[in-house]
């Protein structure tokens, strides 16, 4: 299986990662090397459909649904670049303006 230049650009769009034209050829080559390598699993002997496997506890341990006091280590104003009148100040995004 070969991943084309266009496919790499498509994957990069899905992953929301800008790729410079200058590095594209190297990236295409490296991704093909990696995907060729992992594709050896397809050649592993077919032993029927096995189960998936996840380590850890058989069932996750859920906490009681109880509100607890969790004091903040830093005040909220220290968690964002800007804070005004009790709110975080974030950039205006054009994508939000049509809504």
């Amino acid at each position: 299986m070969t991943i084309s230049r266009d496919e790499v650009l498509h994957i990069a769009r899905l992953a929301e990662i800008a790729v410079d034209e200058a590095e594209l050829a190297t990236l295409v080559s490296q991704l093909n090397r990696i995907v060729d390598y992992v594709a050896q699993l397809e050649a592993a002997p077919d032993e029927g459909q096995g189960d998936d496997f996840l380590p850890g506890p058989a069932r996750v341990a859920l906490r009681d649904d109880r509100v607890r006091s969790e004091p903040l280590a830093h005040p909220p104003a220290a968690l964002a670049p800007a804070w005004r009148d009790g709110y975080f100040v974030v950039p205006r995004l054009s994508a939000m303006e049509d809504a």
């Binding site: 991943i3 496919e7 790499v8 994957i11 990069a12 899905l14 992953a15 929301e16 990662i17 800008a18 790729v19 410079d20 590095e23 990236l27 490296q30 991704l31 090397r33 990696i34 995907v35 390598y37 992992v38 594709a39 050896q40 699993l41 397809e42 592993a44 032993e47 459909q49 096995g50 189960d51 998936d52 496997f53 996840l54 380590p55 850890g56 506890p57 996750v60 341990a61 859920l62 906490r63 903040l72 280590a73 830093h74 220290a78 968690l79 670049p81 974030v90 950039p91 205006r92 995004l93 054009s94 994508a95």
Partner: protein
């Protein structure tokens, strides 16, 4: 007699200054260490880790120092909370003295993929310390701290422990809370520990282990016990998996593992061959599962939730995402996110991710079958000793194969450790013990028994 925290603080600060050429540390300050010493001195009673200086990999959340994951995208980031593991260690009297360098977001096997420069091997600056927890390994090997925290996703503590000649212990998945460990591959990630000795590593591991309500995947079990060192291993059977001793294995590495096998026999254990036939597929399985999980976990670094603001793109959300992530992540992180996105994408999910998930089950099944016959497994930790910087950076797959013997236990969620096993041509060799899930303490006890006989082995070839 217990050490005075202020004296420890001064000594560690001097050693950190002296170790600066290793580039093993991303954040430390004399003032920060002094503050830790004052905190510990003011504790009403001396804890089990009173005044023990600890270095912590910079993908573990700390309150008073940045947590950057060695990435530009988190440069200067300060966590609003502290990792449970570290909170427990500090409550036991340990002092956080430094945040250590790593491969960016713990993705790498040489600590060359840090945005803040590579870490140098303490014995030969032209070589790598292994990775991704190379900064923590190098600091312990250089004698700056007796123990340090790292993290494992596919061997990132055991492999650098082998390269640097220190003890590296990965607990069973779920033994130590992941709360505050920056997520990479959530079904694999484990906070793990380096120590100068098995005992030091065991004390740190025991203190930070145990159920945590803030991590629903921790096991509902009490903290681990620090084991007594057995004087005899009579009645124990240790398996040597034939697949982990290929014909082209570095002869020095083989000699080191042979030395450990001989020590096991001297202590009364039976050593026998076993087979783990699917372990040969562990690296390709890992490089589907881990990037797939990483591509989801690292979606949060988008320039809005995390990542430096880029005012030039604020008019276009997608442009903001792409610019932040394209410039903020280094090449290896970008490669892994792209591979993960590819194997999870429509049309390829079943062929790659589905196949890898089933192979993961077979790899774990091999271990279960082997542990019906033997109590522990002994293998090399890495196929070679520490390699030269730059040797594998151009070929990602060659780098991935440095983890060929450590990946399988990670996929299976098993406890495993690397024990120093002498040196080959002056460079440390590591031997790996792997135990059944939950038998962390027994594995540590065997390692402690072996330690005296093999650590001082010197040249093995």
């Amino acid at each position: 007699m217990t050490a005075a925290p202020d004296a420890v603080a001064r000594e560690v600060a001097a050693r950190l200054e002296a170790a600066a050429p290793l580039n093993a540390v991303l954040h430390w300050s004399a003032g920060g260490i002094e503050a830790e010493a004052r905190r510990v001195a003011a504790m009403p009673s001396a804890g089990p880790l009173h005044a023990v200086p600890l270095a912590v990999k910079d993908n573990i959340a700390t309150l008073d120092a940045p947590t950057t994951c060695a990435s530009r995208i988190l440069e200067g980031y300060r966590s609003p909370f502290e990792a449970t593991a570290l909170r427990r260690l500090r409550a036991a009297g340990a002092m956080l003295v430094a945040k250590t360098n790593l491969d960016e977001f713990a993705m790498g096997s040489s600590t060359e993929h840090s945005a803040f420069g590579r870490v140098h091997h303490p014995l030969d600056p032209a070589r790598v310390p292994g990775g991704s927890s190379g900064g923590s390994a190098a600091l312990v090997a250089a004698g700056v701290v007796p123990a340090a925290l790292g993290s494992e996703t596919g061997g990132s503590v055991r492999q650098p422990a082998a390269f640097c000649g220190v003890v590296g212990v990965k607990p069973s998945y779920g033994r130590v809370s992941r709360y505050g460990l920056v997520a990479f591959g959530s079904s694999l990630d484990c906070i793990s520990v380096f120590g100068r000795t098995v005992g030091d590593a065991a004390r740190v591991l025991a203190t930070m282990s145990g159920h945590d309500p803030l991590d629903a995947t921790t096991l509902a079990e009490p903290p681990l016990a620090v084991p007594e060192t057995p004087t005899s291993l009579a009645g124990m059977t240790v398996g040597l998996p034939t697949e982990y001793f290929p014909a082209d294995l570095d002869p020095g590495v083989r000699a080191g593992v042979d030395r450990v096998a001989a020590a096991l026999r001297e202590l009364g254990a039976t050593v026998t061959e076993v087979s783990l036939p699917h372990s040969r597929y562990a690296v390709p399985t890992y490089y589907i599962v881990a990037p797939a999980e990483a591509s989801a976990n690292l979606a949060r670094y988008d320039g809005v939730r995390y990542g430096p603001p880029r005012p030039e793109h604020e008019a276009d959300l997608r442009a903001l995402y792409r610019a932040t992530r394209g410039r903020g992540f280094g090449p290896e992180v970008r490669r892994r996110i792209l591979v993960g996105t590819y194997v999870l994408s429509a049309g390829y999910y079943e062929a790659y991710y589905g196949t890898a998930q089933r192979m993961r089950a077979r790899i774990a099944g091999d271990f279960r079958a082997a542990f019906e016959r033997v109590d522990l497994l002994l293998t090399p930790t890495a196929p070679t000793t520490a390699f030269r910087a730059g040797e594998k950076t151009e070929d990602p797959v060659a780098m991935y194969l440095a983890d060929v013997f450590v990946c399988p236990a990670s996929l299976a969620g098993l406890p495993a450790l690397s024990l120093p096993a002498g040196r080959s041509e002056g460079l440390p060799v590591g031997a790996q013990l792997i135990a059944p899930a939950g038998q962390d303490t027994r594995m540590l006890a065997v390692a402690a028994a072996l330690e005296e006989r093999v650590v001082a082995a010197g040249e093995v070839r």
